[in-house]
């Protein structure tokens, strides 16, 4: 049965609340540029590429003309050739030429480099060395990588603390640096993106010292503002050229929104979205349609795999972070080879891992943003054949909102990604690192940071005694190694390993922040349809010992979060900011029965509290404010604050205590300067939040204003207006 027949078989389903057909797009090709090295062209021809797509040729021409480029075409449009081709062309001609590939994670670098290696290996008479340089590269191989590799793949953390402070050892490599490739640019947003932007400013400086001026080329998923983000992160003198018009063909794509049926009309209870997603995926897999299911959490991946297998789809596979690399490679390979008709994955497969095209994508649960939805949907479709995307929404308010108002997804552009590399709390540590790498000369600028601002920053650091000014040049004279004191993404703690007691083997890994959720004693740990129970969690050694069990339920941890003020650093009417202590702890768990999702029991756990010291700004509502109104206001303030501070909403967290004190805190330990500015700009934040709520086109509350599932826009707008007035703004124009 074909894909079309499966979709037709669903046509009578009332659960399908929206059906959109995204028309097929024909391929637009371009001619091979005449400058392209014949051997590179032959390598591409050997891969079956007869002519480039228009967007590829556009990117190549711009790079050739000396511009930085950001490619923001959809998933699977041949983005990577936009940079592989000019890189290989340069390397094939010039044995001294070098290229650096930057991936957001170690795992992705190791995944992607295989593709580069295969391409490079196919080029006749050019021995192009390709290597990964990261924390896992053994010490004795590092020298060989520096000396012999033409293409080096690394991650921002390694570039920051392992390469730049020791750039003398990289003199040969950096002198030949022609291209810096920044893949998955959209992941560099908010605080992390601002950090990476500064690392790239440092790289440009150091490359300049060795006589190189590399071209930067970035690839981004679909976001609203790829050009703006690339300009901020890449930091070149001239804004990068945005290549967003894909010339790759795409087949007709049917996009369905599936809302699980109401099973109890009195209570409005809907059927489980996981069961519905499983049913949809099973129909597709049974018809031989190559299907990828995206689940929101690792837990959901495991539940779906189990359900699929229980219902006869024995070949269903799971894919998520925490699987050991060999298992992941195995699943990727079977996807490419078409052996696994159905794979269930988290966003781990959203990034650029090569798995070929798929006939259908099932998205189980709203992924949280339009950008992420389109990124996942982009996995569907191969070689211009028709494909389908089914979004199965959950009963959560945000999901239900999308089901009720599909224009929220289809009618608006994907979200913006923002960075603020000149945030002083982020900028100053990088200026220290840069001074360690090379003294600052008199007329220097630092990326787009002008000479005046840079001189002021240098003077401040000299005043603090870590830099020394000598005849107009600023030298690092501190004793420490500044890069070791800057963590680009907050503390990256060691993972926990999951060990099966009977065999003593490591079966999976879990990130430290998630460990209490999934590995508390008595937790059911799920792995590709099998269940294990945690017998013991060794917190110090970062190990969880589990036993294989045949469990009829899984577990869902209950956590609890508290903010305590340590020191008030600034205070005003109804607002303050300062040092806070945030504690977080898993206190118990629910047992949830498979298939029926009945809650069949509770358990208590005693785990160490996770804590963090950071900075927060907080706002005090009048006594008697209904908690729901405070929550709605917190939601609006949070999103407006992220917008105004040019950070990502995920860089901040919000907690409402006693129903009326709204905390917004910095998720990076120690804080990154966001909350001080939030406090200073509180009047504007409150005014914009009020305007947002007042102007929102929704009836009475939506995810764009006060959060999904909440009602009472007017009360929230009144509270925000009260804040605005207390903060010294002009709340006169309160919209009615």
């Amino acid at each position: 049965m074909s894909l079309a027949r499966v979709i037709a078989s669903w046509s009578a389903k009332r659960e399908i609340v929206e059906r959109r057909v995204l028309p097929a797009r024909a391929a637009r090709h371009a001619d091979w540029p005449d400058w392209l090295d014949g051997r590179v062209r032959a390598t591409l021809a050997a891969r079956g590429i007869e002519r480039p797509f228009s967007h590829q040729a556009e990117a190549w021409a711009a790079l050739r003309a000396g511009r930085d480029v950001v490619v923001a075409t959809p998933t699977a449009s041949g983005k990577s050739l936009c940079y592989h081709v000019p890189v290989l062309d340069a390397l094939a001609r010039d044995p001294a030429a070098r290229a650096l590939y930057l991936y957001p994670t170690k795992a992705l670098a190791r995944d992607q480099i295989e593709d580069v290696r295969a391409l490079a290996g196919g080029i006749a008479d050019a021995r192009i060395g390709v290597a990964v340089f990261d924390g896992d590269t053994p010490a004795d191989e590092r020298r060989a990588v520096r000396g012999r590799a033409h293409i080096v793949a690394t991650n921002p953390d390694m570039l920051h603390s392992g390469i730049l402070p020791h750039h003398d050892r990289w003199a040969g490599f950096l002198a030949g640096l022609r291209y810096l490739v920044v893949d998955e640019l959209h992941t560099y947003r908010g605080v992390f993106g601002s950090q990476v932007a500064n690392v790239l400013r440092r790289l440009r400086r150091v490359a300049g010292f060795h006589g190189a001026a590399p071209r930067l080329v970035a690839a981004s998923a679909t976001i609203a503002n790829p050009g703006e983000l690339a300009a901020g992160v890449l930091g070149g003198a001239q804004p990068p050229l945005v290549v967003s018009e894909s010339g790759a063909p795409s087949g007709e794509r049917v996009f369905l929104v599936y809302n699980p049926p109401v099973v109890d009309s009195a209570l409005g209870v809907r059927a489980s979205y996981l069961k519905c997603a499983e049913r949809v995926a099973r129909d597709l897999a049974a018809a031989g349609v190559k299907t990828l299911v995206f689940a929101r959490t690792r837990q959901a991946v495991e539940i779906l795999v189990r359900y699929l297998r229980d219902h006869g789809a024995a070949h269903a596979r799971g894919y998520r972070a925490g699987y050991l690399p060999d298992r992941r490679r195995e699943v990727e390979r079977s996807l490419r080879a078409g052996e696994a008709p159905c794979v269930v994955a988290t966003s781990a497969l959203e990034l650029g891992i090569d798995i070929g095209g798929l006939d259908a994508v099932v998205i189980a649960g709203w992924p949280g943003s339009r950008a992420a939805t389109w990124q996942r949907a982009g996995r569907a479709g191969r070689r211009g054949a028709p494909s389908a995307v089914v979004l199965v929404v959950s009963s959560e308010p945000l999901d239900q909102y999308v089901a009720a108002e599909p224009e929220y997804l289809f009618g608006r552009s994907p979200e913006h990604a923002r960075v603020d590399p000149d945030n002083l709390a982020i900028l100053l540590p990088h200026i220290k690192c840069a001074a360690f790498e090379l003294p600052f000369a008199q007329e220097e600028s630092f990326g787009p940071l002008g000479a005046d601002a840079l001189r002021a920053a240098l003077a401040l650091l000299a005043e603090r005694g870590v830099l020394h000014e000598d005849r107009g040049r600023f030298h690092w004279i501190g004793e420490s190694y500044p890069a070791s004191q800057v963590a680009l993404r907050g503390p990256l703690d060691q993972n926990f390993v999951v060990i099966e007691r009977a065999t003593g083997t490591v079966i999976a890994e879990v990130d430290r922040p998630d460990a209490p959720l999934y590995l508390h004693p008595s937790a059911i740990y799920q792995l590709e349809g099998r269940t294990f129970q945690v017998a013991r969690l060794d917190w110090e050694a970062r190990k969880a010992y589990v036993d294989a069990v045949d469990s009829d339920h899984y577990t869902d941890a209950i956590d609890y979060r508290k903010v305590r003020v340590l020191e008030v650093l600034g205070e005003a009417a109804a607002a303050a900011w300062g040092e806070v202590h945030v504690s977080w702890k898993v206190v118990g768990f629910k047992k949830i029965k498979y298939h029926t999702h009945e809650n069949i029991g509770y358990g208590e756990v005693a785990l160490p509290e996770q804590e963090m010291q950071t900075r927060a700004a907080w706002f005090e509502a009048q006594e008697g404010t209904p908690p729901d109104v405070a929550l709605g206001a917190a939601y609006a303030l949070h999103h407006v604050a992220a917008l105004l501070l040019m950070c990502d909403p995920h860089d901040l967290a919000r907690v409402v205590e006693d129903g009326r004190r709204i905390y917004l805190y910095d998720k990076y330990p120690g804080g990154t300067g966001l909350c001080e500015r939030l406090f200073e700009e509180r009047a504007q934040v409150a005014a914009r939040a009020r305007a947002l709520v007042a102007a929102c086109a929704c009836v009475d509350g939506c995810p764009s204003c006060i959060g999904a599932g909440r009602r009472g826009k007017l009360a929230v707008a009144e509270l925000l207006a009260a804040f605005e007035q207390a903060f010294g703004g002009t709340a006169s124009a309160l919209a009615s």
Partner: protein, 374 residues
């Protein structure tokens, strides 16, 4: 942040800091640091046997034109931002050890400092350092690169005294820091009241740069001069212990170290003499274990099978709980002395069973039976 806001904010913070810390005197006191000194108590080293130089990883070293180098740096972490702000260079001139010290008066003078270092190192026959292979020399090489200068001055034989010192003194429970060796081996004592602890050195240079007052550097210069002189003394001392171990070595481990060096230098006769003497001195089981092994292996390499056998048998008798003596005796009897039944006896007597041993015994049994059949 908008650039104007950023500038305003930075200026506000600078003003705040300047208010908090009053303006300091900018006038610089004259830099009165002793930077050149002579020491007639340290005699020049004897010429170095070229084979020994090669064994010490300093092929072609000419000690007559030795330059002893020691640096004081702004940090220990390395990387391109760590400066060598004081470089001490020692050399013998007319039988007297002279120490010249180069001070980086301001970070911008580095190129000039390195040019002066070039002149001091010109014609050097060998660089002598203590831990210079992993610290001082790579750091100086980075400094030359950062100033876009050739590091040719460093490209010559390099005798780092740390590795031989570690080998020689492994029998004594001491950390191999220069100051420890100075005290326990060379019996030269530093006055702790005067000497500046290494950890304080970077801070003293920072405060000199900040205040312009060089007073705190006097002690650093003295510390550095002292390190250069101690390295010079240690050079003569180590070479005596390694070169004439029968006269100078103080314990069995030193004899072992000397023997290893001579063995590496291609003089097995001297190596064997040192080991023989070492075995006369050695009492502790770990030392006897190492010496017996080393001498037995050396004997075997020199083709003296019966001496090797006698040594392995001694090993076997002294360490009857270990397989090694039995197995090595068996190997020697099987392959070198062609005495299969002795080999089998030795193997069968080994105390700890194991796959490899079982294999050996089985093979030896087959071979002895085959012999009987023929």
């Amino acid at each position: 942040m908008m650039q104007e806001d950023l500038l305003t904010e930075l200026r506000r913070r600078i003003a705040e800091m300047q208010r908090a810390a009053p303006v300091r005197p900018q006038a610089r006191a004259r830099l009165e640091v002793t930077l050149s000194a002579c020491d007639s108590s340290v005699p020049p080293p004897e010429p170095l046997d070229p084979r020994l130089a090669a064994a010490l990883d300093a092929d072609g070293a000419d000690l007559v034109r030795a330059r002893i180098v020691d640096t004081e740096t702004t940090g220990l972490a390395g990387g391109t931002g760590t400066l060598a702000f004081l470089i001490g260079v020692g050399f013998w001139e007319g039988g007297v050890l002279r120490v010249e010290q180069l001070l980086l008066r301001a970070p911008g003078d580095e190129a000039e400092l390195l040019a002066r270092l070039d002149r001091l190192l010109a014609g050097a026959g060998v660089l002598v350092t203590f831990n210079g292979r992993s610290f001082d020399v790579p750091l100086l090489r980075t400094r030359y690169l950062m100033n876009r200068m050739s590091a040719a001055a460093l490209e010559r034989p390099h005798l780092d005294l740390l590795p031989p010192a570690r080998r020689l003194f492994r029998g004594r429970a001491l950390d191999c820091r220069l100051q420890t060796l100075e005290w326990l081996i060379l019996h030269r004592r530093r006055q702790h009241a005067v000497d500046v602890p290494g950890a304080e050195i970077p801070g003293r240079y920072q405060s000199y740069l900040r205040t312009g007052d060089p007073a705190g550097l006097q002690a650093v210069a003295e510390h550095n001069r002292r390190d250069v002189v101690s390295t010079a003394v240690l050079l003569g001392d180590l070479l005596r212990r390694l070169g004439q171990p029968l006269e100078w070595a103080e314990d069995a481990w030193e004899l072992l170290a000397a023997a290893q060096t001579w063995s590496c230098a291609g003089d097995p006769t001297r190596a064997d003499a040192a080991l023989a003497r070492g075995l006369e001195l050695a009492r502790s089981p770990p030392a006897r274990r190492c010496l017996l092994r080393a001498r037995a292996r050396l004997a075997r390499r020199r083709g003296d099978g019966s001496l090797a056998r006698a040594l392995w048998e001694r090993y076997r008798d002294e360490f009857p709980d270990e397989n090694l003596g039995f197995v090595e005796t068996a190997k020697l009897c099987e392959h070198k002395l062609r005495d299969l039944s002795a080999a089998l006896r030795a193997a069968e007597a080994a105390p700890r069973p194991g796959d490899e041993l079982a294999h050996r015994i089985a093979r030896l049994r087959r071979r002895t039976q085959a012999l009987r059949v023929h």
